[in-house]
Amino acid sequence: MNQEKKQDLQEKAREVRIETLKSIGHLGVGHVGGAMSIVEVLTYLYYAEMNVNPQEPRMNDRDRLVLSKGHAGPALYSILAMKGFFPKEWLLTLNQGGTNLPSHCDRNRTPGIDMTTGSLGQGLSAAVGIALATRLNKTDNRVFAIIGDGESQEGQNWEAAMSAAQFKLGRLIAFTDYNKMQIDGMTEDIMDLAALENKWESFGWHAQRIDGHDFEALAEAVKRAKEETDRPSMIVLDTIKGKGCSFAENKLGSHNMPVSADDLKEALAALGEGEN
C-alpha cells in the first residue's frame, strides 16, 4: 500500500469516527466502544476492497458484509452515508422512532445492509448461508463478516465455524474485533478467549492475527485470505475499544454509554473536526 492510499484511508477513518460520534451524540447515548474499534476494518472494506454500488444496493454480483455485532451499526451507517447509499442527514435520526437507522443492523430498513443482526452469534451463520448461495449461483463475489470478541462466547459461532470449514467456503472472510472488553469487564475475566486465532485454525479455517487499526496489515491479511480457495478465513483484529474517541478509548463501560454535549465537543475537537 502506498503512502498516499494509506493517508487517504486514515483520513476516511477519521471522517467515519466524526460522523459516528455526531450520530450517537445527537441522541446522547449509544454503542460507542464497539463502533470505534471496527472503523479501520470497515473503512478498508468499503474504500479499498468491496465491490458495492450505492446506486444499486442489492446489485447481484456485489460483495456482501454481515456485521454480526449489529450494535456497531452506527459506524457502518456512517460509511454507507459517506458512500451515498442514503443521505447523510439520516445519521442524525439514529434510534429515533421511525428511523431507517436502528441501533442494530436491519436489512429491511437500511440501504446497503446485507443482513439483519443484533442477537449475538447469529450473523456468521447467515454469512455461511450467503456464501453457500454464492457458490450455488456460481458468482465470484466474496462474503465478509465481522463478529465481536464477546460475541465469540456464543456457541452458535462455533457451529457456523464447523459448517463453513465443512462446506469449504473459500469465499468467506471473517474478522473478529478482538478489543478485549465486553459489557461486564475484560473478556479474559468474564470468559477468556485466549489465543483466538488458534481456535479458528483448529476449526479448519485459515487464521491470521493482526493490528486491526493498521491499514497496511489489513491489506496484507485480506490479500492473503483471498488466496485461500477451499477454506474460510478468519482475521483476528487486535483492536482498542473506543479507539480514537477521547472519552471512550480503552475504557470499560464504553459498550453502551451516555454521550454528553461536552463529551461530544471534546471528542470532535480531538479528531480535528472541521479541519482538512
Binding site: T116, S125, A133
Partner: protein
C-alpha cells in the same frame, strides 16, 4: 410422485413433493440437521445432491444458514424434529428468519405423541404455541398425504417464513386428489348441526372423524373441520360454525395453552362467546410409550372428544 394414497410414510410425501418442486426451480434447497434419513429428506439428496445441505447436529446454525440463503433469493426448506426446530433454534428462527423477513420454511417432524419412544425430551407439545407468537408467521399442521402434498406446494408459493409440522412415520389419506387447499382456509370434512369438532394434524383429525361417527350413533350431529392452518386462523369459518352449532370442541396433538384451542378461544371470546372445550395436552411434559399409550395418557382420544362434545350439547 406416486399416487398419494399409496404412500406408507408421510415423510416420503414431503420429500417427493420437494423433489417435484425443485425440478422447476433451482432456488429450492433442502436442509436437515443429521436427520435426513429420519425425515425422508435423504430422497431429496439423492435427486439433487448439490441442493441438500446437512448442517449436522447444529439446528441453530442450520436456521441461521437458511436465513442467509433466503437473503440471496433461495427458498430453504429446513427440517428437524419439532422439539429442536421450535426450541433449539427459536431465536434464530425468530430473528434471522422472521424479524429479518426471510423466506425460510422450517419443518418440525414427529409432532406431539408421535415422537413415541424418543420420549419426553423429544416430544414437541409446545411448538405450535411458541410459533404462534411470532408476528406474521404462517403455522401449519397437515393431516394426510393429500393435504401435506398440496400445502407443501402452497408454502413454496407463499413468500415468507412458515413453520409446518410433519407427521413422519405412517400415513393416512383422507382427501380425494382433487381437494383444494389454501393457507388460512380450513376444510369442512363433515357438516353437522349440534357441535363442531375443530381438529388438525394426522392424529387428531383421525380421532375427530372417529368421534363424529360415535356421536352420530348417539343422535348428535357433529361437524368436523380440518384447521390445517393455525395461523392465520380461518376466523370466518370458526364464526360460521360457532353460530351454526353453538358449541366447539378443539382437538390437537399439543399443549392446551396457546395452541389451536387457544387461537379459537381467543377469537370467539372477544367476538362471539361460544361454549367450548379443548381436547389437548394439559400442561404436562411428554414421556415414552407407544402412540396408543400416549394418546390415552394425555387424553388425545376420540372418547375424550365425544365426552367433551356431549358435555356441551347437554347444556
Amino acid at each position: 410422485m406416486k399416487k398419494l394414497d399409496t404412500y406408507a410414510d408421510m415423510r416420503a410425501v414431503y420429500a417427493d413433493t420437494l423433489i417435484e418442486i425443485a425440478k422447476d426451480d433451482d432456488k429450492v434447497v433442502v436442509m436437515d440437521a443429521d436427520l435426513m434419513a429420519a425425515n425422508g429428506t435423504k430422497g431429496f439428496k439423492d435427486a439433487y445432491p448439490d441442493r441438500m445441505i446437512n448442517a449436522g447436529v447444529a439446528e441453530a446454525n442450520m436456521v441461521g444458514v437458511a436465513a442467509g440463503l433466503a437473503s440471496q433469493g433461495f427458498i430453504p426448506f429446513a427440517s428437524t424434529f419439532g422439539c429442536f426446530a421450535a426450541r433449539r433454534a427459536y431465536d434464530q428462527f425468530f430473528l434471522s428468519a422472521n424479524y429479518a423477513k426471510q423466506n425460510v420454511k422450517l419443518v418440525g417432524s414427529d409432532p406431539g405423541v408421535t415422537a413415541q419412544f424418543n420420549g419426553g425430551t423429544h416430544m414437541p407439545f409446545c411448538d405450535i404455541t411458541l410459533m404462534r407468537v411470532i408476528p406474521n408467521l404462517v403455522v401449519l399442521d397437515p393431516c394426510d398425504t393429500v393435504s401435506l402434498h398440496k400445502l407443501t406446494k402452497a408454502i413454496y408459493e407463499y413468500k415468507g417464513p412458515v413453520y409446518m409440522r410433519l407427521h413422519r412415520k405412517g400415513a393416512t389419506t383422507i382427501y380425494k386428489d382433487d381437494q383444494e387447499f389454501e393457507i388460512g382456509k380450513g376444510v369442512v370434512i363433515k357438516d353437522g348441526t349440534d357441535v363442531t369438532l375443530i381438529a388438525n394434524g394426522l392424529v387428531m383429525v383421525t380421532e375427530a372423524i372417529k368421534a363424529e361417527k360415535a356421536l352420530a350413533a348417539e343422535g348428535i350431529s357433529a361437524a368436523v373441520i380440518d384447521m390445517h392452518t393455525i395461523k392465520p386462523l380461518d376466523e370466518a369459518l370458526v364464526a360460521e360454525y360457532a353460530k351454526k352449532t353453538g358449541a366447539i370442541v378443539t382437538c390437537e396433538n399439543g399443549q392446551k395453552i396457546g395452541g389451536l384451542g387457544g387461537a379459537v378461544s381467543e377469537y370467539l371470546s372477544e367476538n362471539m362467546p361460544t361454549l367450548m372445550k379443548r381436547v389437548a395436552v394439559d400442561d404436562v411434559f411428554g414421556e415414552v410409550g407407544t402412540q396408543d399409550y400416549l394418546q390415552e395418557r394425555f387424553g388425545l382420544t376420540s372418547e375424550k372428544i365425544v365426552e367433551a362434545a356431549k358435555s356441551l350439547v347437554k347444556k
